[in-house]
Symmetry: C2
Subunit: 210 residues, 2 copies
């Protein structure tokens, strides 16, 4: 990142969406877009779009707008997805395998090194040619391979211990799918996908409509 000014979480959450829309625009052959046009498309105000982007630099040009291809690339750089990441997945049940497939199919730049589980009956299996290893081998594996990111797709009870092993093993980020709030040192980035919370927010909104 070019500077270390603290950028709010709300802004960061919008960046991937900007990038997603820019990717689509690029696919449609669009060269440039103004904040006003982008606003209509994405549903944020033009003001907000310009404010958000100016947290990171002046990517636009007066009288012209933003270059689609360039802005797409810049946001990728801001998000840090212009480089490669190695991943281990802890918990290799349906959800772990689904995430493995998802990353394999849609997330170029992210490579899964290995998966782990405690269940003897699935240890040794392969998912997209990635082997499911014994959870007991995790510590040694981390020490040897130093993956960047650990994905936690265990049940609630094992999640914190998985997180402890991952942080001790030096991962820089944890993507957590277990329905608990993990405790990790400040030096490790943590992103949660709480399915249960999301589903229950849905039922709230469903019932609040009429």
């Amino acid at each position: 990142m070019k500077d270390h000014i603290k950028v709010s979480k709300a802004v960061i959450k919008r960046l991937p969406k900007y990038r997603r829309y820019l990717e689509e625009l690029k696919g449609q052959g669009a060269d440039r877009i103004s904040s006003g046009e982008f606003s209509k498309l994405i549903g944020y105000t033009a003001s907000q779009i310009r404010q958000d982007l100016n947290n990171f630099g002046g990517f636009g040009q007066q009288g012209y707008g933003y270059n689609v291809e360039s802005l797409h690339r810049q946001i990728g750089i801001i998000l840090g997805i212009d480089r490669a990441y190695s991943i281990v997945i802890v918990g290799s049940g349906n959800l772990g395998q689904a995430i493995a497939n998802y990353i394999h199919n849609y997330e170029t730049g992210f490579s899964i090194l290995a998966m782990f589980d405690v269940k003897p009956e699935i240890i040794g299996r392969r998912v997209n040619n990635v082997e499911i290893l014994n959870f007991d081998a995790l510590d040694a594996y981390l020490k040897a391979q130093l993956p960047d990111i650990g994905v936690i797709t265990t049940g609630a009870t094992s999640a914190q211990s998985a997180a402890n092993k991952l942080t001790a093993g030096g991962v820089k980020g944890i993507w957590n799918f277990a329905p608990v709030d993990l405790n990790v040192p400040d030096s490790v980035a943590l992103e949660n996908v709480h399915l249960s919370d999301s589903l229950h927010a849905l039922t709230y909104y469903l019932n609040s409509l009429q």
Copy 2:
């Protein structure tokens, strides 16, 4: 809901977390908790906790705090998870099956009626005894069964058409896992789980640490 005052999205997003912690407290045999103690546990300020809850009613008692069991139940009622929901899942690949298993195992009150897919080789299979049906049969199935919620676990290209069918079929809520922003009428609740956005936010934070 007891009143129709608009409660902010930020508050709603915190409710499932309150409930999750209360569930844990209940399991530990705690009878009561003050907003101050709860604050230490959950990491929000005591003020925020009281403000959030008072959007929905006065659940506490001066000099005492909140009854754990009662507050847990009340938040369940607010979130609308005190009743049953029927679900169909559109897209029965790994992710669809993972979500099916997740709901089956962890979300009591939510029952999956059927799953759908276009791939002939998986049509007819069963996941937790729920059959995967032909996507072509979705319209007729919705008309006959009137499920409450539709889950979209298709790829990006089919997601909007799945959403159209679901809304035409009368679902009241859509839980979307496809990496697109769906267009649905205001009368349908929409909750998104954008895995890609979440992963890219993780890489941002990972790189912004030191």
